[in-house]
Amino acid sequence: MAYYDSTASSSTVWRSWVSTDTTASTSTSGTGDTWYCWTSNLACSGTTATTISNDSVWHTWTSIDTAPMTVLGEPCVETEEELQGRRRREEESRKREEELRKKKSMAEATARELLLDLIGEDQCKVYDETGRLFVKGREYDYVIKKNGGVQRIEKDKIIDLCVHLKKRWQFPDTDNVIALKLMLENDEDAVNRIANRVAEREKPDRLSLAACL
């Protein structure tokens, strides 16, 4: 191997190792030569490298147009058409939700009218305020809660029951209250048989206010 360099630098040995041209000479060589060789085809096949910066390897690693590399993801830019489409879908979704909310509200108002027929204006006001309806069964008393659940009031304890209309979510809350009121007044045993017992606790000195007859 005949290799010499007039301005030997610490990188010359690397150049020797990686260069196929062992007779090459170079006049100026930066400390980035080795990296340049590793990353540049030119340096490995050529005989001289004159200007090499220390960050050339980083440039190679990170620049799209100088070397093949993996780019993780592209910036997502929405076209005008896509933007319009998204806005249209959002608006449609908002309208559907609003329509559903109105329907539920109307259904609840209709159910309340039916309850009003059953328990009268005064008690309906209490029901509006408390969301509870007191029902007298043959054996026990009950409190039906508008937002779900029934409390069975026994001599010294309260039993929380979970019982409701099948597919309850389809019905307004007050329909559920009406159904349970009628069922408890007529077939208390059947309701207690169907209901799941959720919890049991001591009966408080005073029960919460509820609409009653």
Partner: protein
């Protein structure tokens, strides 16, 4: 006038009949039977809190009847 209130997602749907009108009574009776077959329970009710009474046969003179879908434990 008789009234059948069927509980549903709209609150309820009402079917009204005139007890002296045979066709209307027949239509209401058919609807009553169809719902009972589906598992609905019928309650004849009075106004202002008087307890409703479960009924299994359609009575055109019952006044107001509420049809309740089946219940289940949660």
């Amino acid at each position: 006038m008789g009234q059948l209130s069927i509980l549903n997602d709209k609150g309820d749907t009402k079917v009204i009949w005139d007890p002296s009108n045979e066709d209307e009574v027949m239509a209401a009776s058919d609807q009553f039977d169809a719902l009972v077959e589906k598992g609905f329970i019928a309650f004849a009710v009075k106004k202002n809190g008087q307890q409703g009474t479960q009924t299994k046969v359609f009575d055109p003179e019952a006044g107001k009847i509420i049809m309740v879908p089946p219940i289940q434990g949660g």
